[in-house]
Amino acid sequence: MSAAGDGRAPPRAAPDPATVQDQRAAALLLAVDPVGLGGAVLRAAPGPERDGWLALLRGALPQGCAWRRMPASVPDSRLLGGLDLAATLAAGRPVAERGVLAEADGGVLLLAMAERAEPGMAARMAAVMDAREVALERDGLARRLPARFGLVALDEGIEDEGVAAALRDRLAFHIMPLPPAPAGTLPDIAAARARLDSVTVPHDVTQALCGAAVALGIASLRAPMLAQRVAIAAAALAGRDTVLAEDAALAARLVLAPRATRMPDADTPPAEEPPPPEQGDTQDAPKGESTDAPLEDRVLDAARAVLPEGLLAGLGAGLRDAARRASPDGRAGARHATPLRGRPAGTRQGELRAGARLALVETLRAAAPWQPIRRRGRAGGPRLLVKREDIRLRRFDAPQETTAIFVVDASGSAAMHRLSEAKGAVELLLADCYVRRDKVALIGFRGRGAEVLLPPTASLVRAKRSLAGLPGGGGTPLAAGLDAARGMVEACRRAGRTPLLVLLTDGRANVARDGTGGRAQAETDALDAAKPLRIAAVPALLVDTAPRPQQFARDLAAAMGARYLPLPMADAARLSDAVRDAAA
């Protein structure tokens, strides 16, 4: 599933009036049934377009509705709630504090920078949206707090960044806001809300929405379910008691179209990710699930014979150490020695020094049983007596997540030599990543340019699938591959992860940055593209897949500050030496 509503062109020049109208309708429908529709993903940078849509929604909501805004990273104590310490101490009994989700009950919750929300947080929110209440099991409190709200995820993601799928699936509308139309008169939202429950849905509308979802390759059943809710809200807004075809059409445009994974008339089975459109010289592309298995086995066996397992593990470890060593000074997102951020990992007893974070509740807990004893013999004084041995500090697990970016040369020369073996090598490295729970990303380059085949993912299955679908053939645009790699390295650093680069190429660069042929210019461009990678201090490995080690590949490795590893044809002894050297 690619990012929300990406099928549409970015808003430019004259916005399509029909789309503007639909977006206006989405805001009004959400005001009618925020809980039933889940909410919306607004994919746009902050600006008048986004503000306009939000203002429309806010204006349409009934008076007194909650309108809460929250950042994408909130601790659980604020998200779900917890013990209200001040009130607890004042009252002498536990008092619960509501979290943001419970505070948004009955209204709309805005999630700012939604693309930064972690899967864990998205899952918490999704669970609350499903149950329509917060199940609070924290700080010694067990409560159920109502939380019926519509969620508007403000997605400012660039390219592959986007709202977590668990949330996107639950939000009816996926919108890239256009400049809003001049404000017209608002329809009667309150009347529509009152009418919601009495709107009936003819059987053929349900059937049409389900059929459309299947034809568009939408797997999740929430999509047709939400589409039906949208159709109902549309009918209610129009003052009707029955859903008509036009309501269903609006629902399909707003809910189903942005989720489509294929054109409706295509015969191919729904793929989770549209397959790369390349056809070309696809000697390695899968021809079908069952027929390519033997080929894959062969490829894997070939690679296994060349790359002994133990050596690979050693190499991986070496790379990781390099990643740690190479951490440049002063860079945002660099690692803290004693982490003060990340996931909370319990508490410990300790002294409150600078840099330590006090775990108030745990401290209070530790102090609580002794209060009557400590108070004995004292008249007056503070209500709470906390001693040094009560102090509890928070521990955090800093995310040490690594993303291994594989940049694979799929050009004709590489394909001829040993693309399949390179793929096998990548698969073995992938397995290594899997064991260490790294994320992996895959960039392929061939012909005229590079292509991100797989954005960073923890799913090995997806990585394998997109690797298997990598066709070979065409020129070698090495510079383009390196540029794409640099883009992803930067994206990884922005997301707070440590990137690690593995480049597999035969070093025969023959396509320059501008897409023209010519070896000399191509090599100059490649060296140019390699330099920023060295400056960025990305730990990297260059695997030379040419039959004979190439001087240029060696130079390239030096230019990008990478470890150089030739993969000589069927020369296991030399390879072993090389790997041993590299890992040393």
Partner: protein, 367 residues
Amino acid sequence: MDSVPGDHGRGGDANPVSTRSKPARGVPAGRAPYPFAAIVAQEEMLRALLIAAVDGSIGGVLVLGDRGTGKSTAVRALAALLPPMKAVEGCRYGCDPGDAAALCDACRTKPRLRGIEVPVPVVDLPLGATEDRVAGALDIERALADGVKAFEPGLLARAHRGFLYIDEVNLLEDHLVDLLLDVAASGENLVEREGISIRHPARFVLVGSGNPEEGELRPQLLDRFGLCVEVRTPMDLPTRIEVIRRRDSYERDHAAFCAAWDKEQAKLRRRILAARAMIASIEVPDAALERAAQLCIALGTDGLRGELTLIRAARAHAALEGRQVVGDAELRAVASPALRHRLRRNPLDETSSSTRVERAVSELFGP
């Protein structure tokens, strides 16, 4: 910073569990859960949950699958389906008066155990729960008010003899996973915090659900689940339409919808009770044991737990179907959920474990 309405202390009640867990023991206060009997398709998942309801010793169910396939709906529906159980009156752990060996320390000292009917707990472990609420900890209120160290049981205590459900189990924090692994293996929760030292029985059926695309499960946790089912979105149109229609009528009026399904629910409940009654008398012939062993050898599963679970699940399945003898058909029906997560993992082999199990089954049992 407002306190939540209706959340005034417990008024010195001597039985803290009864007040705190009111919304969780049994049905959540808000909406009645979607009826189990009304779930469309997903036979494998429903069968696995019913098997776990018949024989809790099988060791839990893991449901993996795509978004929006009704994973959590099915598990939460279980609560309303299960027949009530007998528990010691006033026991905060819900001890079984008929099982003297498994009583908690408090019940052991009681001269006479009075049993009352209570619903089987289906406890949700929400993401974001803190360790003190999961394992239980010092009762902060009594410590504040009276300066007394008293133990406040957590979710594990509440789930004793019932089900513990974790949605998005692959996103659960590591320290909670460690805790669960230990308790699920020993059937006992040991709390050593803040100067209290308490042990109490905590035997529950662990039910987890998750989407494998969002992260893998630790092998140790995987191993704790007896059955593992994979759910996929139904792609045929009539099924999808039926799902949407039922869901819509449930959303509109859950009370009426649940009432309409009452009869089916009661039928299913009787089936569970009948299966529990007959499971002890079901015969497992040597031939079936041999078949199970052959299958496990062919698949190269680690240890004997695969065989054990396979046989137990087949027996529970036979009981649900009203058959007296475990044969090939019963083994086949449960082979995939009992074995697919026990295969030695080759992270590169995309042939899913299910396919491997199916292949081995058809080689052994014939097509």
